[in-house]
């Protein structure tokens, strides 16, 4: 599978999963099950929440990578100044490093909260 198609599928299917997960949360809320005891005891919920976190990372990565490759390029930053255009690749790589690092840190934190 090529990268373009992979990204396209990943974003659409993850968005669909978010919708299903939000409906599931709504159901829990309306049936008065949305509490920490339920979170701690219910394995199905833990698995679904973990999947949500993983898919949110993928969804967010694709979206933020797209924003970076649109707006943090030699061409786009070059509109502001030649100096910025010259270091555009460094700025974009730094931006990518930060959102990957933040995503990684959040994922570890969420896993800890969900499973331990």
């Amino acid at each position: 599978m090529n990268l373009g198609r992979l990204f396209w599928y990943a974003q659409r299917y993850s968005a669909l999963y978010f919708l299903v997960f939000v409906i599931y949360l709504e159901f829990l809320y309306l049936s008065n099950q949305l509490n920490f005891i339920f979170f701690e005891k219910n394995i199905l919920f833990k698995v679904l929440a973990t999947l949500f976190i993983l898919l949110a990372n993928i969804h967010g990565f694709i979206g933020l990578w797209t924003v970076g490759t649109d707006y943090l390029t030699k061409r786009t930053l070059g509109f502001l100044s030649d100096g910025l255009g010259g270091v555009a690749n460094t700025i974009r790589k730094t931006y990518e490093f930060f959102f990957v690092a933040i995503g990684f840190a959040l994922t570890i934190s969420y896993f800890y909260i969900i499973w331990f």
């Binding site: 090529n2 990268l3 373009g4 198609r5 990204f7 797209t66 490759t69 649109d70 707006y71 390029t73």
Partner: protein, 244 residues
């Protein structure tokens, strides 16, 4: 007689350090004329004004420009349709390098057009006269082949502004689909493969600027949707089965 206030983008790289807007006041014509006629009137008083034009009837696609903020062909845009008060602002097509005044460098646009290989590819033995199609197959090309490559659509697309070297753009994608949809063309696999990266097609987010500005009322967005559909569903197999 009331006056028209025309704000015109001026830039001559041999003389000007930066582009600027110059205001011209002309008598409002007694009848509704086209923007191109208005430019001719301006040029009578200022010969240094530069713009492209050729057929003056919406066929050659030479005089695409931004007219009061919306891309269009000067030769088929009546002033009455764009007037804001008594003001008209004319700028070159956005996103392309300006050569002079309203004349832009179309190299990036044509490079994308070249990339999609805009010609029929069929290596089977050529028939004596011509490769025939059924009327139904021929109908599939309506709304695709009429593009005049004026670049109004591609230069109204932010994705093309940001990545004109990677995103093919609505005009070239419309032509890409024109050949993908052509039952006589046998390079469907290769054409789809060439468009399968994250930029060429998938950078289109469907904001429909291309549709709203097309002077020929074509729908590049729909063609892009069809290409995405072919890429996702591996529609080449469906086409092969249709051909069989």
């Amino acid at each position: 007689m009331s006056k028209l206030e025309i704000s015109l983008y001026r830039y001559n790289p041999e003389k000007d350090k930066f582009p600027y807007m110059k205001t011209y006041n002309v008598d409002k014509p007694s009848r509704d004329i086209m923007i191109l006629d208005l430019l001719h009137l301006l040029k009578e008083s200022d010969e240094s004004i530069s713009y492209r034009r050729s057929c003056r009837e919406g066929v050659c696609g030479s005089d695409g420009m931004s007219i009061n903020g919306k891309n269009g062909l000067a030769c088929i845009t009546p002033i009455s349709s764009v007037l804001k008060g008594n003001k008209i602002e004319l700028r070159p097509l956005p996103g392309l390098p300006v050569i002079r005044d309203l004349v832009v460098d179309m190299s990036e646009f044509y490079a994308q057009y070249e990339k999609i290989k805009p010609f029929l590819q069929n290596d089977t033995t050529a028939p004596e006269q011509e490769r025939l199609q059924s009327p139904a197959d021929r109908d599939k090309l309506d709304g695709l082949y009429e593009c005049i490559l004026c670049a109004c659509c591609s230069t109204s697309c932010p994705s093309f502004w940001w990545n004109p070297d990677k995103f093919v753009g609505p005009a070239a994608l419309l032509q890409a689909y024109r050949f993908l949809a052509d039952t006589r063309d046998l390079s469907t696999d290769e054409r789809l493969e060439d468009l399968s990266d994250p930029f060429s097609v998938y950078r289109c987010h469907g904001i429909m600027n291309c549709v709203s500005v097309c002077p020929k009322s074509l729908n590049p967005n729909k063609a892009i949707g069809e290409i995405k559909s072919m890429l996702l569903k591996n529609k080449k197999n469906i086409i092969a089965s249709e051909r069989a």
